[in-house]
Symmetry: C3
């Protein structure tokens, strides 16, 4: 396992809630027996156990937990131990109502559900500190405990006075003077000039007022990341103050937009995340690429292997429709995580809850509770297979390609008011371009604009509307030094406060791109336009591709046109261009095109730029290809994400892949 | 008329609001004249007349009402007299704001509309008691008054502190100790353990907090029924304290989900309800079956004839689109109620309101106000026909078949979080199975899980997810004794607190059903799968049927497979099974199938089990068939719910049915 | 230019926000240079500049504004000077929170956005008075200032106690006694009788209570118009008290439903409005007719030429999708306003904002800021063309046809609860009938029921459900005197308090129409019915037309049937009728028919009634035809609203119209 946790093998297990079953010792016993048979070697404990730890204020009970951890450890099962701040006891909320969040509409919520505490409440921070410290003092040194699971799926935001005060202070740190903030935010717009930081309020709902002031929205989002991280620091401090130095993580979520996870890279010892792919809802190979992107996104936070902390071996219960998973899909989904850099396969949940909102959520052990259960049998099979993979040594994924996915840019795009409020296609374009790269047999590293670009051969940066400070300069240096850079429409428009760049755009990069962006056009839903191959462009591109959603008109200076628009008043003007600059090349993709375009284009670029492919042969659509080091050997993963048998004829593997089958083989 | 009211004939009339016309004596006079011509013999008075009764606090005015009742009585028209609690005067709400409801978001509403009082406000209960008692003392003994109409369409809920206190007390009665409640509700989930009943709060909105804790949701719904009934008891007590013993009802609503009407069976002397079928919005015969189910549901509350208290002779005004009714439909809709056990046909409203939200709602007398009006003419025709039916003697509907429709089970299904949050298909499956029974020429009694099953030959219980205490035992005894039991997927999963049953399900009934339910699959919208006839299964079933929405996988022990799945990874596994147990049979229908399946299956079951049909001949689709005793004679009702003439060739009737025509004939 | 402003030429320009650029003198300089090149001769200043005028309470700064106005004036550019009440400084909202609006849910909003002040707050009125007066005193006499732009896009409503008190007083003025109000509103319905005006509350949200009491809703809407106008009076008073007598306007919005703009006709010196047509979203010629209607609606407020105060030369940014405009469309859209009576073409905005919600909104000068910009070039071209049109002299549009579009009637229809709550088709029927008139080559004057009908030859009044006092009488006189009157289903149903007329309808007009309306039928979405030509009806009508949405059944007395219904139970009954009455004719159009019906019918009526057409020749679909006097010459505007070249062969013009081209020629 990972270099952080210092265990050799893959970890297999997941969230376990014995606190719900303390009166049923026969269940607890049967659980262990079934875990052992499935090769489970880790569970996460205590995530929502605060009321079991401290049923009355100041009265602590950890004996039951010790017994559970002992029992697990004696059966070869490690514990990931959670701090319980994700849900507080009723007595705590009743006595200190200020621990509960104030919603965006400025009303304090009642007790209920979970994940809804104020981030700045001094009482809550104190109570969390105490319970965390007691937990660390009592059980932190247990040899079975290998990792801290700080809280659970941090998210959301609080608008109480205390949080607003913290926001004002954060702004003061950032801008120093109110005049500078007024200038950067252009508050003269609609007479919003502030006289002091104390006048600044967090955004409100549409009903209550300030919901559309871009720099305020953007900076509030930045602040939420800051204050959540600050809350987490307080949690970790309690553990360290107790003398415990075991590593810590917190479980991230799928493409979560509420936090900039990249900012957590220096506070988590290892990245972990919870994956609930919507298998079968869409074509599974599409879901697979989407999931792959998320695994890569998580690996990219620290540029290191990570943990799959939660997932589900079959249907979850909270989606609008719960579709059962096909045989072998659980196994292949688990191995996909491994292929992309996970050192674990873990589930929510080890045993189905008996009541409440998650009682119908899939689990390793269902309410039925016996071994002759399809899902349990699939878990056993995966457990054995992971055991068979041997030492993982936190093997790296070899990459030459970086994909720029920047949360602050996404935030700015989401709130930009134009040119397509309905849907800017961020997700769609990201998926298309990522899939294009993967279909060209490349591993991909996800970076953001704070990351360095040196060391990569190909950098792809779609919809890079907002440039973080220094990004334009990184792009310039990367291309100058011989890199291949690919971007899209709506590139380099605003600065870090979402302020328009004046003059020609892409700002500071018109020479690198060899063009000026003029107008951006939003297409109505259902409109399909064409781009047409320009004379003399590469044969790797087809004569035409369709596009929709958005496109950018440009005026080239030095860039060469590869494709032109085929529709509307701008028919005949350049749509896809490439510019030679310094030692490198810069591609501009002016429209949101059909998938085939990106597949063809990247295939051409990879060949032309001489990038290494995982394997040389093109695989049939439906098979995902990845590679990763396990020990010193680069392993190739071939995964069939269809319901059909697929024949594979490659140097690394020659044979068939059954429906949802994974083959792992050595790279030759 | 009914054995409760002691009148021989059918009652014809409806809601009348002379309080809106007191300054127009010519209108009041014309009304009576038109009522008499239409054979109207009953009106409901005073439903929203509180401000006319008590325009200023403590000042009562009933003279005008006495004059109205006298006048009606002298013209042969009885009065159903309402208590006015459904809407209070402005002075009352202004002086005692606590009489107004607190919404789920914990904000007290303002004055306005109606049906929005707090159920526990002591002031409101006192004010209602006073006005009801005054009304009873002043006019309760009038010979024209035959029935009390308590309030109007009780519904909704209040979340004020007083109601929450009442909820806590109700829970204390139910669970005795907080430990027991914690155990039954499994409050350890998400750290929600309570230290005392005083800590328990009613559910909140999604914004405010506790919106998804199943046992809390379910018990809150039970409490709302309890407290509404308690409020009604206070209303009736005022009448009885005034020395009045006339029978009482309250008007129920179509499939109303906010109350468990079955719990009112011991407090209403006769069941009454308000029917607003959406004629023409869907195929009319489908609307007719849906309406028929509702009539049967109402009859099933006390297992006795009931009153149609409100309906509309033409378009209502509150639906999104108000479609006019075809000629004769008003008559046939009225007679359908009679066929299913109603002793009345009554309308909202006798005369169109002149202003406000209901001024465009259909009425016996429109704003036009003359006799040469299509709707008035149709009402006259129906009035005469009801008069011609003679004595009704509260004739019973003869039944051998029970249909289990349990409100608490429905509540649990609606909030269950999985396997299909979008739509569990409760309504759809109910309609399909009910229609299948009716197409087999059966009358049907609707029961809930508190009812006894003995005495029936066939019991149908679709989607019986939650089993009320004792229900499994009733099913076992029923089948053992020779009954035919039919159930569906998702059967016997949770207990009365929505807690999962551990081990094999259906809980306590795996032997009766001869199978174990394994996994339940939610199908995405638009997916259509097949079930295929198993070898050797009856010829009455077709080779295949389609299904959608949901299906259950099973492992049979002793059950015999009638049909198998034809799709997905579970193709070939059993879908429809029958098990012989004791003297009886138990059918398990694993999927939400197309209508034809239920029609074919019930036709087969009725024949095999030798049930009595109303008539033997199968009728064309479009004709509803019912029977009911009028006096000592069982009458057969043949009703054409299409726009075409239909030829009928049966022993009871040989001839044609015109569009929307009803024929009533003696059973041979 | 207009007779109010006393300038000869068309004005070209728009909203300009130099207050956002005070630190960038090079930008301000470049702006002037580009304005001059584009023949810009007017800008609107200061609309949201309060925090620049009064950055701290009581400290006023107008120097910068004077410099700007001087500079503009020295370059031949006039100023429309705005009062800044549309958005207040943060310090003002913080110190006097009561200036902020209370929402319908009775919660006071926070600071933010704009257009959200209380209309009755005495502090706000005082602060607005002071700033307006200071502004007038300081710069009102500047020769460059030609017009006051009072506030911005007045709209919305406040529900604070002070506004409610004002509402009660307004009701007291209107009804004198509470008894009269109770009678007119029929408050006996649902026991809502008031004891005093003090008991009356404004409507609330559906959650909070009183949301459906028609006369309350209708009168609240009337009050909102009254109080907004009252607020505006206070604004203007400040200017007049400063001794300034320059004319004033306020900018109206597209079909804005929140105010009855007709009531502002005596307070604005000239009507102005902001037009944001959704070009390209629908077929452009349809958008053109819709826009034309709005221009005519604005001209109809004072029956005089008006100002196009805002519009956009290319895509806006706040629509869900921002589609670029085709070449020449900006020019043709500007000239369309002129054709319909505008003396200006003005834009929001002259230069793109640098940040905030409107930074991506189209402008004459974009963030790019150079002259080689497609949109700037189009503006230059239009500026030159307007210059070339010469003196406009507030030339009138010659009309013989009036179209009745009454805001109070629309309000009543929107809230009427039946017969089609989903959509009464007000907009749809209005567009169909207006387009029918325009396709018959007629100019159209929009009037409301307060306007006189004398002087017109044809009056069209669709969906005239509520008749304002005296309207029926005007119709009677108009027809008696020889006019042709055309109305539709749902005619003359309620009085000014939305109270049903008793007896036969259309109220007081059954003899004029020669029929009685019996029942109104709402058709479900997707239903298409037919009307069929009656025997002997004019050849100008086709044999059949389709209809949907709504239709009215009638019983004719003297009216002659032109078409009958072809569907449903009312097949064969009259659908379209004409009645000769006095010297005139009255047409009743019973159904919401397809466009062709109105085009054919009006073509027939125009011919039969001998109305003057702008030109005699029928133009191809896609060309809009209008006429207007410029100086003494009636000019004919031919505008191609398609992407195709269209050949025109008429007496006034023989040649082609390119895509989006406008030709202006003399009427022969």
């Amino acid at each position: 396992m990972n270099d952080v946790i210092k265990l050799d093998n893959f970890l297999f297990g997941g969230d376990y809630n014995p606190d719900q079953w303390l009166k049923s010792p026969e269940i607890l016993k049967k659980d262990i027996e079934m875990f052992v048979e499935a090769r489970v070697n880790v569970v996460s404990l205590g995530i929502f156990a605060w009321s079991a730890y401290e049923p009355v204020e100041g009265e602590f009970h950890f004996e039951w937990l010790k017994e559970i951890i002992d029992n697990l450890y004696n059966n070869g099962i490690y514990t990931v131990l959670a701090t319980p701040s994700g849900a507080r006891p009723k007595w705590l909320a009743d006595k200190y109502p200020e621990v509960l969040r104030v919603n965006k509409d400025r009303r304090r919520i009642g007790f209920g559900m979970r994940h809804n505490h104020c981030h700045t409440s001094s009482v809550y921070r104190e109570k969390v500190y105490i319970i965390n410290r007691k937990l660390a003092e009592t059980l932190g040194d247990h040899p079975g405990v290998i990792l801290w699971h700080i809280s659970n799926e941090y998210g959301g935001e609080c608008y109480c006075d205390s949080c607003q005060k913290a926001f004002q202070n954060w702004l003061k740190d950032r801008y120093q003077t109110i005049d500078r903030l007024n200038d950067e935010w252009v508050t003269a717009f609609w007479s919003h000039t502030y006289n002091s930081f104390e006048q600044i309020e967090a955004p409100g709902t549409m009903e209550l007022g300030e919901w559309a002031m871009n720099p305020l929205l953007l900076n509030w989002r930045r602040f939420v990341t800051f204050i959540t991280k600050d809350f987490m620091k307080n949690e970790i401090k309690a553990l360290r103050d107790a003398g415990n130095q075991k590593p810590a993580t917190t479980n991230f979520m799928y493409d979560y937009d509420g936090l900039n996870y990249k900012k957590f890279s220096d506070i988590v010892d290892i990245v972990s995340w919870d994956n609930y792919s919507r298998w079968h809802k869409f074509e599974d190979i599409e879901v697979a690429y989407d999931t792959a992107f998320q695994h890569d996104l998580m690996r990219g936070i620290k540029h290191k292997p990570f943990m799959l902390m939660e997932s589900c071996p079959t249907a979850v219960n909270w989606q609008s429709i719960s579709k059962l998973r096909w045989p072998r899909l659980a196994e292949t989904a688990g191995l996909q995580a491994v292929a992309h850099g996970s050192d674990t396969v873990m589930y929510f949940q080890m045993r189905q809850a008996r009541a409440g909102m998650e009682k119908l959520h899939g689990a390793l052990i269902s309410s039925y509770g016996e071994k002759d259960d399809r899902i349990y049998e699939e878990c056993v099979s995966l457990g054995k297979r992971l055991e068979g993979l041997g030492r993982c040594n936190s093997g790296q994924v070899p990459v030459q390609t970086a994909f720029v996915y920047d949360r602050e840019n996404i935030w700015a795009l989401e709130d930009s008011f134009g040119p397509r409020n309905k849907d800017m296609g961020i997700k769609s374009l990201t998926n298309k371009m990522y899939k294009g790269l993967r279909r060209a047999n490349l591993n991909v590293e996800i970076v953001d604009m704070e990351d360095e670009l040196t060391g990569y051969k190909l950098v792809v940066a779609p919809l890079a509307y907002l440039h973080r400070a220094g990004f334009a300069d990184k792009v310039r240096k990367f291309v100058t030094a011989g890199g291949v850079f690919v971007t899209s429409y709506w590139f380099g428009i605003v600065d870090e406060d979402d302020k328009m760049h004046l003059g020609a755009v892409p700002h500071e990069l018109t020479d690198v791109m060899g063009l000026r962006e003029t107008e951006v056009d939003g297409l109505f839903d259902g409109m399909k336009y064409k781009i047409l191959k320009a004379q003399g462009a590469t044969d790797k591109l087809k004569e035409e591709y369709s596009f929709d959603m958005l496109c950018n008109l440009v005026e080239p200076t030095t860039a060469k046109t590869l494709m032109t628009y085929g529709s509307d008043f701008y028919a005949g003007t350049p749509a896809v261009l490439v510019n030679e600059f310094g030692e490198g090349k810069a591609y501009y993709l002016g429209a949101h095109a059909e998938d085939a375009f990106y597949e063809d284009l990247f295939d051409y670029i990879v060949e032309e730029a001489g990038l290494d492919r995982i394997i040389e042969e093109k695989l049939p659509y439906g098979v995902e290809l990845s590679s990763r080091y396990l020990g010193d050997q680069e392993k190739v993963f071939l995964q069939n994400f269809t319901r059909n048998e697929i024949a594979i004829d490659t140097k690394v593997y020659n044979g068939t892949l059954k429906a949802y089958e994974t083959v792992v083989c050595d790279k030759c």
